[in-house]
């Protein structure tokens, strides 16, 4: 095979019929699409962080900065943006799009044009959600869960926001279809299932969850819209409907959605730890199969969100039992990651700082999940700050830190530049301190009975609220340093070599940034 110069040019180099911004917006290159998703995600994440800071600010002096109505809208929009626009699409659309084809030795995903369409669908959904914030009725004030019958009666722009989330759901389903097909059909010669990088395994499991669970959300949201627009009473007891049905349908999707957020995050950690420990992962098959285990059992635990909903006690006991079982494969992954460090030769670069922090924070998130998954403690802790703390440890400490890990690990490959290590580590340290001050105090608040989604509260909770808010400022400082460091490196960083870390997966065998079609010659995988 001959290789001409143009074939080696990076994917940033414009070719084809579109120029400038259109060469991005109309591109079907999985890497260009991945970069666009990343930009969108980080933008929404920044907005979500601002709203989160505003919530914390309001809580140290209720009524001083924002009113009650605004507060309710702010925490709702914070949730909607962080969940539906940032963390659910999150890892798959940004890093999955960019790296999945490269890691399996393919030139693109199975359906590049569908991938393009998926991005437009995502943008359309995001636009609808954004419109709901500014249109006449006012931003949603239902919380991100849209519980009926409140969401049917509320006067804010629920219909618009819910339609937006519905459209975002399609984007998610299409991503799932695309990735599952890509992994089945486009693996390079010799890339057998048990040679797949673990990140690909988790994307595979995630793809199936997106494919099978998201339609349930779509149906549920259509019911909400029908209820609001045409007065159909699926969830309205005065018309023979059932509010608890909504909760069942919502969590049938939204619990598996937790695995959409967390599985690919685990995949990133499974890639990064072996590279910096200079070892192969300990128990490859166990880690790969536990992803499938989590994805399968994860469908059957949604009821633990409803232990105090009025659901039958028998159902509660069964859901609690299955919840404990789903903890086991997550535990296995943690043991395997830690064992990978054993007799390794650990290089202390920035990505592994974030990856090991993920293990610590995700362990806290997972273990507190067992506490609230227990029948008796749940009676106390459900609907309190304990829950808020728990899911921020899982979502932010888990998925969020995995995204930060991925950003620092793949930055040289995606942008062809290196960033300085020192500011990254300083930012990491401040973020870690701020994170724990912010969210650990919420565990104590919740144990003491502080309910979530409260604008105002009895004075005895004030000291811990103050601690938590100070934590939010420290956390914001850490994030700012990390972001500033990477942004500066984007323009001023030195050129990155093809393999700055000593990685073993295929993306490190091609130049940084990769050429337009990834591989000059299709790689053949041998042992």
């Amino acid at each position: 095979m001959e290789s001409t110069a143009s074939e080696c040019e990076s994917f940033y180099h414009e070719k084809g019929k579109y120029k400038g911004i259109l060469s991005w917006l109309m591109s079907t290159d999985h890497k260009r699409i991945g970069i666009q998703y990343l930009v969108a995600l980080l933008t929404f994440f920044s907005v979500g962080v601002m709203l989160g800071l505003l919530i914390r600010l309001s809580l140290i002096a209720p009524g001083t900065f924002i009113g009650q109505e605004t507060y309710n809208r702010v925490f709702s929009v914070h949730g909607i943006i962080m969940i539906f626009l940032f963390i659910i699409p999150g890892v798959p659309v940004a890093f999955g799009n960019f790296f999945l084809p490269i890691m399996i030795g393919a030139r693109d995903v199975a359906f590049p044009r569908l991938n393009r369409f998926t991005w437009w669908t995502y943008l359309a959904g995001a636009t609808l959600v954004a419109l709901s914030l500014f249109a006449a009725g006012g931003a949603p004030d239902t919380g991100w869960t849209f519980y009926a019958p409140y969401s049917i009666r509320a006067k804010a722009n629920i219909t618009l926001a819910v339609t937006g989330v519905f459209v975002l759901g399609f984007s998610s389903i299409l991503t799932g279809i695309n990735f599952v097909t890509t992994i089945h059909r486009l693996r390079a010669p010799g890339m057998t299932w048990f040679k797949l990088p673990l990140f690909v395994w988790t994307l595979y499991a995630t793809g199936w969850v997106q494919l099978l669970a998201t339609p349930v959300l779509a149906i549920t949201l259509v019911f909400i819209i029908l209820g609001r627009v045409f007065g159909v009473g699926f969830f309205d007891p005065s018309k023979g409907g059932d509010p608890i049905l909504y909760e069942h349908l919502f969590w049938t999707y939204s619990h598996p959605a937790v695995y959409i957020m967390v599985l690919p995050a685990m995949g990133i950690i499974s890639e990064v730890i072996p590279v910096f420990a200079r070892k192969k992962i300990f128990g490859y098959k166990a880690v790969a199969l536990s992803a499938i285990g989590i994805a399968s059992v994860g469908y059957f635990v949604w009821g633990h969100h409803m232990f105090t909903s009025g659901m039958s006690d028998t159902a509660r006991i069964i859901f609690s039992f299955i919840t404990f079982l789903v903890a086991v494969p997550s535990g296995i992954k943690i043991f395997n990651w830690v064992s990978t460090l054993y007799k390794g030769s650990i290089v202390g670069s920035a990505p592994i700082y974030f990856a090991l922090t993920f293990i610590f924070l995700f362990s806290i998130g997972g273990l507190t999940g067992l506490i609230i998954g227990s029948l008796e403690p749940n009676l106390q802790l459900h609907g309190t700050y304990f829950i808020v703390a728990h899911f921020h440890y899982v979502m932010f400490g888990g998925a969020g830190f995995a995204i930060l890990t991925a950003l620092h690990y793949w930055f040289p490959k995606m942008f062809g530049r290196m960033y300085p290590e020192r500011p990254a580590k300083i930012g990491w340290f401040i973020l870690f301190i701020g994170f724990n001050v912010l969210y650990f105090s919420m565990f104590i608040l919740g144990y003491e009975g502080m309910p979530r989604r409260y604008f105002d509260y009895p004075a005895r909770y004030f000291p811990l609220h103050l601690v938590s808010t100070i934590g939010s400022w420290i956390l914001a400082a850490g994030l700012a340093i990390i972001a500033g460091n990477l942004l500066r490196a984007l323009f001023k960083g030195p050129k990155a070599p093809a393999d700055p870390w000593g990685g073993r997966t295929l993306e490190w065998t091609i130049p940084s940034p990769p050429p337009a079609e990834n591989f000059v010659e299709t790689p053949v995988i041998r042992d």
Binding site: R153, P237, D242, G283, K343, I346, G348, L367, G373, E376
Partner: protein, 300 residues
């Protein structure tokens, strides 16, 4: 055995502490192992890595042991659950009606209050429902909660072991005033409770109109002392001139009996300027309305 202010509080606390202790042990074990490995197998101390890919017995061990451990945790979460969820047959029933944004407690003889009074030493069963959206009744001191769902009757039960006044919070987000949807639980000695239960409304020294405003939940949004809440205050309302929005148009009207009746029967018709149009229609009989009007007249 941990005791609490009620029969269930100690049991739930015990279960919480056992499960949390197990979690802390696991977290400490994983974290210390990780830190030791990071220290020992640092590049400087251990420049050459050893590839160890698999160890079947070890992997079987850390699959089976955690499975047993989590099943143990499940058991400790479950052991008293049936007791906590199933009230004894002789429990005193009290109906709980939740609405945006107030609580009404209804005793067997039809008596209604906004404060939950219970006798110490006697099992109490709360039979709960909601008139509008989902709420949740949470008694932090007793460590129990349950949702109040429209169209459904849910329940909680407890036996107060100590006297005292405890918070009741709404813990299911229910709209604007969610964080102010709070009430008090007063656990009283049985004799005091019996005395209180026997006295009828009149003996409480309160006005019948005020009592109605309280039990209908009006005071969740309107005050009688002039302070502004979600809705305008009742103080000085009667006979004053109010600026309202009717069908999108502003107008000024006198707050007479007709106006107040219309505002109760059809809250969305005239909305006082500067306030949200969120008041629900609350069923009020003609006699009740009369009592309320009489009371409002006194609030100059």
């Amino acid at each position: 055995m941990i005791l609490g202010p009620s029969n269930v509080a100690g049991k739930i606390e015990t279960s919480f502490l056992i499960i949390t202790a197990a979690c802390v042990v696991l977290l400490v074990a994983v974290t210390i192992t990780m830190l030791v490995f990071i220290y020992k197998y640092n590049r400087r101390r251990n420049p050459v890595p050893e590839d160890i890919e698999e160890n079947l017995p070890l992997e079987v061990a850390w699959t089976v042991l955690p499975t047993l451990l989590v099943l143990g945790m499940f058991y400790f979460g479950w052991v008293d659950f049936d007791y906590i969820r199933n009230p004894p047959k002789d429990a005193m029933p009290i109906d709980v009606i939740a609405r945006q944004w107030s609580w009404t407690f209804k005793y067997q003889d039809g008596r209604q209050t906004d404060t939950l009074r219970v006798p110490v030493g006697r099992p109490v069963k709360l039979v709960m429902t909601s008139e509008d959206v989902i709420h949740s009744l949470f008694i932090p001191a007793y460590r129990i909660k349950e949702d109040c769902v429209p169209g459904l009757k849910t329940h909680l039960w407890f036996n107060a072991d100590q006297t005292g006044t405890f918070d009741i919070f709404c813990t299911e987000y229910c709209g604007l005033e969610h964080s102010h949807m709070r009430a008090k639980l007063i656990a009283m000695p049985a004799t005091d409770f019996a005395a209180w239960y026997k006295t009828k409304e009149e003996a409480e020294g309160t006005n019948k109109g005020l009592e109605l405003l309280r039990t209908k939940g009006c005071l969740g949004c309107h005050t009688t002392d002039g302070t502004r809440k979600v809705g305008p205050t009742f103080k000085g309302l009667y006979g004053s001139n109010v600026t309202v929005v009717t069908n999108g148009k502003e107008r000024t009207t006198a707050a007479n009996e007709d106006y107040i009746e219309r505002s109760v029967r059809n809250p969305g018709a005239d909305v006082v300027k500067g306030y949200p149009n969120i008041m629900p229609k609350i069923p009020v009989t003609d006699e009740e309305l009369k009592e309320i009007l009489e009371y409002l007249e006194t609030l100059k």
